[in-house]
Amino acid sequence: MLTTLLRPTAGTARVAGLDVARQAAQVRHAIGVALQEAGLDDLQTGRELLTLQARLYGVQPRDLAARVQQLLRVVDLEDAADRAIKTYSGGMQRRLDLAAALVHRPKVVFLDEPTTGLDPISREAIWRYVRELNQNEGVTFFLTTQYLEEADRLADDVAIMDAGCIVAQGSPAALKASIGNDRVTVALDGSDAELDRAAAVIRRLEGVGDTRTVADTLIVYVPDGAAAVARIVLMLNEAGMRAREVSVAQPTLDDVFLRATGHHLEEDHAVPQPVGGRKP
């Protein structure tokens, strides 16, 4: 809807200061969009696709070739520029798609799960382009992702959505600080009842903020994780239970997500969608 592909049935929204319903044409000039599935044409070459895209966006003919070449360089596709797109790997197609979203120097770029299904090297490359474009050209990125690490690495402002509503919003640092505690993960063998009993035991420990059960592990939030580990192991032993594995970590956006939505992202791909933004 924000990209003008769908018409809003009610309410208003503004992108780059423009109303998406009443100023759709201007909005299209101001934004670039790379959707989850790279929307490309197999039979054109990368250069042809970018050139056509630039023409349709009204890039001046005298700037056209240089702009296309520059974008091919930015996304490291200069060598493959004159090959048919059907010969590109998944990562190359995503990079080309990103370049296509940038031809007209948009102020805001929408990226829908830009790295889903990509190998770590391609993912790292996309992250690098996003960061560079943000810093060097002042492009604002609006990205949706299932990867909380991606939101953490890229975004200045993160909104966590659950069932269509924003349930938490802020900078990654602020969101993580809002957890306020370290995370201790305790893996136990045993039934659900056993896990519940272990949780009850651990909650008796001073300073324990919150506990959650995910599969066969307990997640415990405490102010000083390192100090709590020994006590937790001891308390469980006294209660006749044995932890298989115990670890301490700083809180991540995963923890923020878990607290805000009550479920793990991996368990429930369907509903939650963290939304990250990167401002100039």
Partner: protein, 254 residues
């Protein structure tokens, strides 16, 4: 307006590039009508004069081959459109500020050009095979133009189905529709010898007038009446199929 024309032009070039890079489709589009052309003339050509007074059956059949090629090539147009929709490329184009109309006009113009080229090939073969061309070189130009225009209007059916459904299978039915239209026209014999009911159906079938207009150019020379009827039939068909595209485009775009 300049935007519309310029963007339509760039999108036409892109659609033509698509054609050139998949030559196998056009080979099929030309092979099938050529095959029927040869077989029909071979089977009926010798008796056509005695049976229903058509001395030059090659000339009589050439426009049938042209219309078949036109409809075949135009039917493939919807297929290209569904590929764009399925691949998400159509959304990518919709996201640009280009006029929505350019997105379909570009493809349709390319279809008109493809059909014109295929027609030229058939005319060349027909003339070599002895069809002659009563209306002369200018007649060939008019014939090519008529055929291209017919292809463009016919392509609208596949494009409309593609825009509405996004389904490749559905878009191909656009071509299947052509067979009843062709067989309910005087494709193999003059309609004067048809049974009454068939003659009636042929009379209300717009393809009949396009076919007779083309035949006139090949067999009889210049006849304003039959040319006007042919272009009138194409315009009527175009108004209908063009309307379908406009409706389908509205349902597809925000």
């Amino acid at each position: 307006m300049t935007r519309l024309i310029a963007d339509t032009w760039w999108l036409t070039l892109r659609a033509l590039r698509e054609t050139i890079r998949q030559p196998v489709f056009e080979i099929t589009n030309i092979f099938i009508p050529m095959f029927f052309f040869a077989v029909t003339v071979g089977a009926i050509g010798n008796v056509a004069g005695r049976a229903f007074g058509v001395e030059n059956y090659t000339a009589f059949q050439m426009p049938v081959a042209i219309l078949q090629a036109a409809a075949g090539a135009a039917g493939a147009s919807g297929l290209g459109m569904t590929t764009d929709i399925e691949r998400g490329y159509f959304d990518k184009l919709l996201l640009t500020p280009t006029p929505r109309l350019s997105l379909v006009l570009g493809r349709l113009a390319a279809d008109g050009i493809r059909v014109t080229v295929l027609t030229a090939a058939i005319v060349l073969v027909g003339i070599i095979a002895g069809s002659g061309m009563e209306s002369g070189p200018l007649g060939i130009v008019v014939l090519l133009f008529m055929s291209g225009l017919f292809g463009l209007t016919y392509a609208c059916i596949g494009v409309a189905i593609a825009l509405k459904t996004g389904s490749a299978q559905a878009a191909q039915t656009g071509f299947l529709l052509f067979f009843p239209l062709l067989f309910l026209s005087p494709a193999f014999a003059p309609k004067e010898i048809f049974a009454g009911w068939l003659e009636f159906l042929a009379t209300i079938n717009p393809v009949t007038y396009v076919l007779e207009g083309m035949r006139g150019l090949v067999l009889d020379g210049w006849d304003a009446g039959s040319l006007a009827a042919a272009f009138g039939a194409i315009a009527g068909l175009g108004a209908f199929t063009g309307g379908l595209v406009a409706l389908a485009l509205r349902s597809r775009t925000a």
